[in-house]
Symmetry: C2
Subunit: 209 residues, 2 copies
């Protein structure tokens, strides 16, 4: 599903720091909750240049601390699966289940890519989207990018995080040599995707088992 | 593209046997064109049971000799790429190009599957469709099948070959554990896919580079 839960005009809610601190993965060595954790991570990795974030060769503006990065194993404890639950029915996953699926997807290399945006204060994942690259015979062995599962947390809408996620995924498709990117969405999200540079095409049909 | 060139009410045209005989891959050892080549192949492989064709554990009716099978390397010389050209702009592919993309797709195992129907008289590929299996985190690490590139040769429409291709791909998705199958198509093909058991869902958006 393209982006069922992506609405861009909601008002951001305050983040609940207590909930964050209750997760041991988000406690610093001195026992204090880690604030500005994305900034810490980026500075540690040495990939900040002039206030921008360099990832996969692309430049992502980072002025507000909300940067787009690739999904990591540690995102299991940062609310990634719960965020997907705002898009589609999703039961909790054990660390082992998450790790197994994560490994399957990582083994596909650039043909499968999930990005997230982490709130720099709460250290929770507040936006995500995925893309897989389909290899075809048509058009001289072309490639097509398929965007799926775009969702922005209810408490983080209105910050244009959805635009950043979609732009990141489109950039990924371009970098891997796709001639186009497609996605499905509810009719009410047409306008959002048109603003992202998409145009409406065909209809989607579905068969449920 | 779901199935732009799939139209089921056209009248079948006679096959051009001369063109078939001109392709050395379709000449038998005694120099005669191979007639009923699919039946020969199936009997050689010992996978005919009571007039039906067993493939991937599924039973496919085979009374008219038009059986659904997996794409093979030899289909490069049986008009597979030219058939795709009826769906989308497609330049000819060299044997090496075809082989390289074929190997990439085969390496994905059941996560990518292309089926074809070969005309039992002309030994040309007259229908095809593909499916790839997307692995998700939502719905308890679920899977979704994506059907693409369904096309029936202009000269073989009206034989319900499109239905057979779609049914085969849906069966494949079910066998690999998908909870649903999706595709996109032009609005005029809604009814065809509804007859195949699909229901209309969202809209498709596309971004072209």
């Amino acid at each position: 599903m393209g982006s069922e839960a992506l609405l861009t005009n909601a008002i951001p809610k305050p983040q609940n720091i207590e909930n964050v601190a209750a997760d041991s993965s988000q406690i610093s060595e001195n026992g204090q909750p880690i604030q500005n954790c994305i900034m810490h991570q980026l500075i540690d990795q040495g990939n900040i240049q002039n206030g921008h974030h360099i990832e996969n060769g692309s430049l992502h503006e980072n002025a507000d601390g909300f940067s787009v990065r690739r999904l990591q194993l540690s995102d299991h404890k940062k609310g990634f699966v719960e965020l997907l639950g705002q898009l589609s029915p999703t039961r909790p996953l054990s660390q082992e289940e998450f790790q197994e699926r994560f490994a399957e997807l990582v083994s596909m290399g650039p043909d499968h890519h999930i990005c997230v945006i982490e709130d720099p204060v709460s250290c929770r994942v507040v936006a995500t989207g995925s893309i897989f690259i389909e290899r075809k015979f048509i058009r001289g062995c072309s490639k097509v990018g398929h965007i799926e599962d775009v969702v922005v947390d209810k408490g983080a809408r209105g910050l244009r995080l959805g635009h950043r996620v979609v732009k990141h995924l489109v950039d990924h498709a371009k970098a891997t040599g796709c001639y186009k990117v497609v996605l499905y969405c509810k009719p009410e999200l047409r306008e959002f995707y048109q603003k992202c540079g998409f145009m409406e095409k065909n209809v989607q049909m579905a068969f449920y088992f």
